[in-house]
């Protein structure tokens, strides 16, 4: 049967808590994973790796992180770019200071460093909320980028002020540096994203996730029923920053290879990730992926159509792209303020009744 379950047939907590309660969905998910892990690596080439798949994975990771903070805990942050910079620079410092440390652990540790920084900048959230908090996180954004520009220790006193990722390997195969094969970098990112998305899903449906959602829905009421705002908010900042830090580390070491802070981690990055979360759907793991996919693939598509197809000059295409992205964001907000994930939910509702809707 293609689709099932029109009523409530659950008889245990385990089935009630299932991530994929419908069998076809489970098959769809595992099928997609099999293709992603076992098929794509054989067909991937340099172009697909550098401009589509790895960006998609990195942005998904960042969107996951921001979604935990904004979507699940209701704290709006505009400091994503700054936190990604922390992840990237932590990764760089760890890579150069401990050349023998496996890159996998370097990336995880960079996430840890970012989590710590995120907790620091999350402290004001205990006093302030809403737009005031959003603006306060801008302080993190500008201060961190400035810091990485001004303090030479962070970029190992290199003359250009850039940081460049040295080659590091996993099981003898390079995943960073210029000579890393596309399939290796792709699989490395995919594994991390899969792992952390799985963790995010389980975190958000557990005690911690529920306390975040209680804070999001009404913080005073949550406090009264015994959710500790301090614990919930700071843990949301920590977990979210961890994800964003890992995304930043991958962004720098695997995807770009060399970055310059003002360009790569500017305020536009913060907005981009926020867009992904909003367009994808606040408070939805799937939404983070959908939003990231939408905003990564659309510019690539537009560019191919306008520059490749219509033969427009690139600067014109770039302006048009900005305009179109802006227009689409407004359009999406009007049509479906709850994002692409909500569209998917509606489709599922319809499918459950298919083929006999009442």
């Amino acid at each position: 049967m293609l689709y099932r379950e029109t009523g409530d047939f659950k008889s245990s907590y385990a089935t009630d808590q299932q991530t994929f309660p419908i069998r076809s969905e489970r098959y769809l998910f595992w099928g997609a994973m099999v293709i992603a892990f076992l098929v794509v690596p054989f067909f991937i080439n340099d172009y697909w790796e550098k401009s589509v798949l790895v960006p998609l994975l990195v942005w998904s990771m960042a969107a996951l992180g921001l979604n935990i903070l904004t979507g699940y805990c209701g704290q709006v942050s505009l400091g994503t770019g700054g936190f990604m910079a922390v992840g990237a620079y932590a990764c760089y410092k760890l890579m150069t200071a401990f050349p023998d440390l496996n890159i996998f652990f370097v990336v995880i540790l960079s996430g840890g460093v970012t989590a710590f920084v995120g907790m620091l900048f999350g402290l004001p959230s205990l006093r302030i909320k809403g737009f005031y908090l959003a603006v306060a996180t801008l302080a993190a954004q500008f201060f961190l980028v400035w810091l990485f520009n001004k303090v030479p220790w962070f970029y190992n006193y290199s003359a250009s002020g850039q940081i460049t990722a040295p080659e590091r390997t996993i099981f003898g195969i390079a995943v960073t540096g210029a000579s890393a094969p596309p399939w290796a970098t792709y699989l490395f990112c995919l594994t991390l994203v899969f792992l952390f998305a799985w963790m995010a899903r389980n975190l958000t449906r557990g005690t911690l996730g529920r306390s975040w959602m209680a804070i999001r829905d009404m913080d005073i009421a949550a406090e009264i029923i015994g959710v500790q705002p301090l614990k919930a908010k700071i843990s949301a900042f920590a977990v979210s920053s961890f994800y964003i830090g890992v995304a930043g580390a991958l962004y720098f070491s695997v995807w770009l290879g060399a970055v310059e802070p003002t360009e790569a981690f500017g305020i536009n990055v913060s907005f981009l990730v926020l867009f992904m979360v909003i367009i994808g759907g606040l408070g939805s793991i799937l939404g983070s992926f959908l939003g990231a996919a939408f905003l990564t693939l659309m510019p690539v598509l537009l560019k191919n159509v306008m520059v490749g197809g219509l033969g427009w000059p690139t600067d014109l295409a770039a302006h048009f792209e900005i305009m179109l992205v802006g227009g689409l964001i407004v359009f999406f907000l009007i049509v479906e303020p709850h994002g692409l994930a909500q569209l998917w939910r509606l489709v599922k509702e319809k499918l459950r009744l298919w083929p006999f809707p009442y």
Binding site: W146, L274, L316, L328
Partner: protein, 342 residues
Amino acid sequence: MVLQARGHGVSPDFLNFIETVLNGLMSGVMYSLVALGFVLIFKASGIFNFAQGVMALFAALTLVGLQTGQVPFAHLINAILGTDIHHWGPGLPTVLAILVTMLVMIALAFLIEKVVLKHLVNQEPIILFMATIGLAYFLEGMGDLMWGADVKALDVGLPSGGSFWWEDVTRAWAPEGADYFGMYIDTLDVSAAIIAVVLVVALTLFSQYTATGRALRAVADDHQAALSVGISLRSIWVIVWSIAGFVALVAGIMWGAKSGVQFSLSLIALKALPVLILGGFTSIPGAIVGGLIIGVGEKLAEAYVGPIVGGAVENWFAYMVALAFLLFRPQGLYGEKIIERI
């Protein structure tokens, strides 16, 4: 000159300090101008309008385009049709160009209400905020597409350059023979300050003594009560966005005349955010005072803290001040006290 009459001058260090403060006040006025646009819209519709800075950019671009007689979308038309057009004539005189730009901004306000806001009534503030970010991107792309992305000079006939008179006056304050050459003050900044004061007074009078102004204040006070006494929320929104467009135009002219019309103009919106935090989102005097504090604080930090840590503190100093400030007074200097109930 009174100081000089006492027989001993003022130390150049102190004069430098005063100069820094004065320049800070001047740039603070510029921040206030942008923050004002934010406050107006936030008060009337509860929308945090991120597009304010881009509106200033868009207004300035349109003004320059009209002044110099550029054909809108010339680049796009050329790319599609393979033609080579760029100017339609010598351009409009400045006053006319400003009027036409104002009309464009009003049309824009109308369109924004019609196309965007109307459909987003009753959505959460964050959604509306995102919509204005989308709007900001849209306007930025459209501005570039219409008028080209190159840096343009804007000249509306305001005086600019240093004031020699002020330099001479202040030089006399320093002790005889001291290594001091007077204070530098840009006359453009002074005119900007004067225009800002006029603008604020005009806005205050408008909101206090006209029927529309009263309606605006009523909406700001309580949306539902305003609706129930027959004030049309939608026309109020058009009016408010038009006024914000006007403020954006003034800010665009000032910033454009100061540093050229270019993309970075839209980033002044970000500079206005700490100003808003300091002043409170709902207070016009707050926007002014906040702007002045941030302006002075930034210039002082750049002059006295900057050399210690390697410069460019201006980028984040304002935010740090705002952040520290928030911890002690979450609603800003003049903001309404936040009372929360379940």
